[in-house]
Assembly symmetry: C2
Homo-oligomer: 412 residues x 2
């Protein structure tokens, strides 16, 4: 792997980052013309790196680099090529571009391995266009929900129509699914999207689990009243109750490593400066790398909020609107990732992923592993998203090391 | 005073409550055609009760009942005839209608007192049309701000134009001002607009002070981040900080009688379920019957919020947007109101008024006193506002007693 690999990766990310459907900012959604341009560019890079490359039935870019003989099962490495609105240039793309650079290195050295390699650039992970996420990886994992095909985007174009406009056929999306015996594992390199690696001063780390998430919407109903005339002891203030719930959620979620809890939305009614709030609605998002841990926390948070509201004589209604299990990374893959990190002279470090990734879908097909690369300030989903060329190079070297030394799981 | 006085008062309130500028709900703003109709009705009731009645230069209805000889200084009794949007029928109107029924009783008995009585129905207290409140009582007190005459309503009609359309002249508004030597005191009967009298089981009470109010807008700025990827210990969550401030405000304001504090508005940005809030803005409304008490509380609340935000490493900016001193009721008037209440066999009870009233303007002219009448559930500024006929009668008897036994302040 050449010394300029970090610069070369970043150069490609700049080129991909210029392919957008919105002038002046990076937005590239599922089956858009901008995605077509990105696909063509990635296909050309794959072919230049010695791969046989194609679009699959849902629009994923898939490149294959055969092993020491054709048709061997493949280690699949990938990430996604779509973006959020007003995105950065690293989320998703870094994993695809880095993997291609690894194949390029193998190919130039004429290096063939005792397994095939497949690089995938998923067509949809963020779910911006149709609301449903991980459409590309769900199709590969064989868990694509065909009920979504009739789902319209905000312009009223259904997913089936969008596929047709892209030159694909809704009826054939199922053909993107892979058989378990074809795939040895799925491994993804991705920016951390959080501040942990930066704070401890490491360029890369091994993911233990993609956290599951439980989300609630909570309605607290007290009694509106005149801010001047109702004594404090007579109030049933919905916002004061919500504020106490928020503090309790923060305290509970701070009590265990890996667990996080966020109240990101809060609305107050009637919302006048001189009126005691009669109603407050807020969201709760709880994530944990371990499902039992998340469930315990979700139960506790509900009990705490109910007790607070009972004491304050306000009504509370809690609705669970989302409940996605964690996707634990396979220990045998984590061990090999740690070894690849250590081979670069970096202390192996494990951390959960609080953000969702394609591995959550791929785990239905095969074991998964993830490598995180440090990013600036933990900032993501934002044009200010950044990594250094040096960290891009370290990430590529870790991934190449992992690939070269990869040992398929021994079914004992 | 006849046995049916409560029913008669409520009947008049129903008739006044039907005079509205919005079909299907009661809204009657300054200088509106609905106000003209209400004025005509109140003028006719005043004249029937033996008063000489007129509109003054700002549109207040003023009725005069001479004392045992013409031209004596007057005890002024009143309230306002305008309403909020979608109002109840008691806020303001009860005080005017009750006072007229007292004069009626005196007149029918041929009873003249050693002072004159003036009943005033202020044309604007709520400030709905032009934003500025207590325009009627400010004009009488001589503190009307003529700069407001050029102020437009939401249809672009200036106050000067609205006065002209009502048959009044902007240049002559100053003529509504009374001289201090003409007015012995200003006393107002009003529904409580809060739950205190109902909760302690008393139909009427004596107001100690119309609370002053201090209002702040607080901006808390932390750092937005991914709800999944930023560990709890690394967060600078603006909403969590605001929630802790809200709890501290509630605790501080609950620590002293009479004091109230309300956070009625709270907005969160970016306001997504999966994003840690980077910014929160909330309002604080602090009221107290005593100015020093309110000032101490406002200082404490600012210090507490600043300390919370410093500990949480979030920025806080607090802007004071309103600061109105309390209007204390005169002890000599409170004593006479207590006596009038006790004369009805009711335990005298004193309470502050957290809501604003015309007394806040009238105190610039003369000493003020207030009688509160119990209202259902403390509900006000709402069509559900209600009092019983029995309480209306008790209020009238208390006010009549107060008037009959009124002794002007002796300047010792």
């Amino acid at each position: 792997m050449g010394a300029g690999v970090g610069a070369a990766i970043c150069d490609r990310l700049d080129r991909l980052g210029a392919l957008t459907e919105e002038p002046g900012r990076l937005t590239r959604t599922f089956l858009s013309p901008a995605q077509r341009k990105a696909d063509d560019l990635v296909l050309s890079w794959m072919r230049d790196a010695g791969m046989v490359a194609r679009l699959d039935a849902v629009g994923n870019v898939v490149g294959r680099y055969e092993g020491c003989r054709p048709g061997l099962p493949a280690l699949m490495i990938g990430s996604h090529l779509d973006t959020v609105r007003d995105a950065g240039r690293y989320d998703g793309m870094l994993g695809v571009v880095t993997a291609i650079s690894c194949i390029e290195t193998l190919d130039r050295a004429g290096h063939r391995l005792p397994f095939a390699l497949e690089i995938v650039g998923f067509a949809d992970e963020e779910g911006v266009r149709f609301g449903a996420t991980m459409l590309g990886s769900r199709a590969v994992a064989g868990t694509f929900d065909s009920g979504l095909l009739m789902h319209p985007d905000r312009d009223g174009v259904t997913m089936a129509e969008a596929l047709h406009g892209f030159g694909l056929e809704a009826a054939r999306v199922g053909e993107a699914a892979r058989r378990p015996e074809e795939i040895l594992a799925y491994v993804e390199l991705h920016i951390e999207q959080g501040p942990v690696l930066e704070q401890i001063g490491l360029p890369a780390g091994c993911v233990t689990s993609i956290s599951g998430a439980t989300r609630f919407v909570v309605d607290v109903t007290g009694e509106a009243g005149h801010a001047g005339t109702v004594p404090m002891g007579c109030r049933r203030d919905a916002l004061a109750a919500a504020a106490e719930c928020i503090a309790a959620i923060e305290t509970r979620c701070s009590a265990e490593d890996g667990l996080v809890g966020t109240v990101g939305q809060l609305e107050v009614a009637p919302g006048a400066i001189n009126v005691i709030p009669g109603h407050a609605r807020f969201s709760i998002d709880i994530r944990a790398p371990d499902d039992a841990q998340r469930q315990r926390c979700a139960d506790d948070v509900q009990s705490l909020a109910a007790a607070i509201c009972e004491r304050r004589r306000v009504a509370i209604e809690t609705r669970k609107i989302h409940d996605l299990p964690a996707a634990p990374c396979a220990p045998w893959l984590m061990d090999q990732i740690d070894t690849a990190i250590a081979a670069q002279g970096i202390t192996p470090f494990r951390l959960p992923s609080g953000a969702g990734h394609d591995g959550m879908a791929m785990i239905a097909l095969c074991d998964i592993g993830m490598i995180f690369v440090r990013c600036a300030g933990g900032i993501s989903h934002n044009p200010a998203e950044a990594i250094t060329q040096q960290d891009a190079e370290i990430g590529a070297r870790v991934l190449l090391n992992f690939i070269r030394d990869f040992k398929p799981r021994t079914t004992a």
